[in-house]
């Protein structure tokens, strides 16, 4: 081993250990979902697809999965657009108001989800906005939670963005908007995609805020899994977990295929 790598042996042990600790829950969920027994146990009593079938035919889990997917997609779309625009302003404008806005936009990351959820819940039911227990209300909550992640990723690349690229485009005849569309947006596109992945993953797994804003007819997958496990200890929840894991992995892989994730995280 000596001389082959600059990374000390101890560091590599720690890295593998960390990776293992991160992956063990995933493995447990997958195996528990493939359990052939009647209860959620680990190690599984035998392998079967019975709970996967149960998930796919479930009247609660499958719609919840669909709801989560729909909410995550809409949230991602809104958060990515708003977040990118906010990042542009925050990274380019100067002044006291901008500094205040920067803090304000990042606040949802540091605020506990419970606080955001409670605040929105109280706001919805104590006013006549008509958003309580509606999908629109829930999406607003998710956008508030996910937007800072888009802002943070996009700001990170905009800080190093060379404005003379835009100026070069302008002097070659491009209007401000054309220069932005043909140059800036293209150069920062991979970090926008990264922000979008974050938004999607966070929205899909969002629990605390959703807990306050969901209703009997508006159940997302995490809420449904939580409810199911409280009343019956069925492996269906774990089977649902398998699908959730695969969805998130697929989203990440697809996006990283389209855009070059390495360039964002590798710098």
């Amino acid at each position: 081993m000596r001389g082959e790598s600059a990374i000390p042996f101890a560091f590599r042990v720690i890295s593998w250990l960390t990776l293992a600790i991160l992956l063990i829950p995933v493995v447990i969920v997958i195996l528990a979902g493939l359990n052939s027994g009647d209860y959620l146990t680990f190690p599984p009593q035998g392998l079967s697809l019975r709970w996967v079938v149960a998930f796919l035919t479930s009247e609660t889990f499958l719609p919840a999965f669909g709801t989560s997917l729909l909410i995550a997609l809409i949230t991602t779309l809104i958060s990515t657009i708003i977040g990118t625009m906010a990042a542009l302003v925050l990274s380019r404008a100067r002044g006291r108001i901008v500094n205040a806005l920067r803090v304000l936009f990042i606040l949802p990351i540091v605020l506990p989800g419970i606080v955001v959820g409670l605040a929105l819940y109280v706001f919805y039911i104590s006013t006549d906005v008509g958003l309580a227990r509606t999908m629109a209300g829930l999406i607003i909550g998710h956008v508030i939670v996910t937007c800072p992640f888009v802002i943070a990723t996009v700001t990170a690349v905009l800080v190093g963005f060379d404005r003379s690229l835009e100026e070069a485009a302008r002097s070659l005849g491009a209007s401000p908007f054309t220069a932005f569309r043909l140059v800036t947006l293209k150069v920062i596109s991979s970090s926008i995609s990264a922000g979008a992945i974050f938004a999607f993953i966070i929205s899909f797994g969002q629990f605390e805020v959703t807990l306050f804003l969901s209703g009997p007819n508006l159940q997302t997958l995490p809420i449904t899994m939580y409810t199911a496990l409280r009343y019956s200890f069925e492996p269906t929840a774990a089977a649902a977990g398998i699908f959730a894991i695969f969805l998130v992995v697929a989203a990440t892989v697809t996006t990283s295929r389209i855009t070059d994730l390495k360039r964002i995280f590798g710098r």
């Binding site: 060379d162 003379s164 690229l165 100026e167 070069a168 485009a169 302008r170 002097s171 070659l172 005849g173 491009a174 209007s175 401000p176 054309t178 043909l182 140059v183 293209k186 150069v187």
Partner: protein, 352 residues
Amino acid sequence: MSDIQLVNLVKSYGEMQAVKKISLHIKEGEFFSLLGPSGCGKSTTLRMIAGFVMPSAGRILIGSDEVTHLPPEKRDIGIVFQNYAIFPHMSVAENIAFGLKLRKKSQAEIEITVTSALRQVGLVGYEDRYQRQLSGGEQQRVALARVLVTKPRILLLDEPLSALDKALREEMKYWIKELQRTLGITTVYVTHDQDEALTMSDRIGVMQKGRLEQVGSPEDIYERPETLFVTTFIGHSNVINVTVKGRDNGKTVVSFGANTILARALEGEVAPGSAAKLVVRPENVVIGRTGEGLPATVLTENYQGALVRYRLSLGEQEIVVERQNQSNVSRFAPGEEVGVSWDPERSEVLVA
């Protein structure tokens, strides 16, 4: 017509005036350099011509068109930046085609133009490369090609050589100048490097603290500096404190210590007795034996290959002298008593 006129141009940022009332006429086809130390306002002036910075006061005219408040895309200007600003997500060919596409040229025309532009800048075969695969010099050629295909009325160059290594800088200096001469395009070149400005320019504007100190040909700037700043910024100069005595036969008489000598005529009247600076370039001072000119003492001798540089004490003051190191020229040792002289026409009197 594509001359450039700056009329009383001012740019202030709050209290700070970056450019203080500059007026300048850059002629059609001219290679004009704005030369000065960093922070002198030369880049701000260039960016105002380009339209990236809006002037606080004054006007900018290109040809007969007032462009003071036009956005950059309406000015018909080509600019090459210090870092070249090659679009990283586009190939070399796409970079060059950028301006042509915006002008809605046909695909066939774009291809022909890009090919001939690549030939012009010597980058045939580089069509499909990306910015990260190009050296600094190559990026600069792409940046120039990208600008020139749009046939701009004027070309602006913002320190285009400062990011290159020395050998390439020398090569590009002549290449850019040659290209400019061939195209006959009005060019404004911003630099802090006096060598670049002196070799490339038709005229130079020396800037300091937001003002134009002097505008003139490279010869004017180097040999007939009008201010002390120009004298000390361009090349090395001996600056001797003198007192003006009067005029004699079209020359100015000055004295310092026990010495009274002649210098090039001052413009305008100066009262006898005023303090002034006498400016002489090191290469214009002739060292001879004692008695041949003003008495001086050699302090140090510094061998530099093609040149030998001496530090001499001349009266109360010190001067530097450079001599070509030729076989028939005698050398002098520290401590030696010598005589120094110079052609009065090669010395300048500047009244503070």
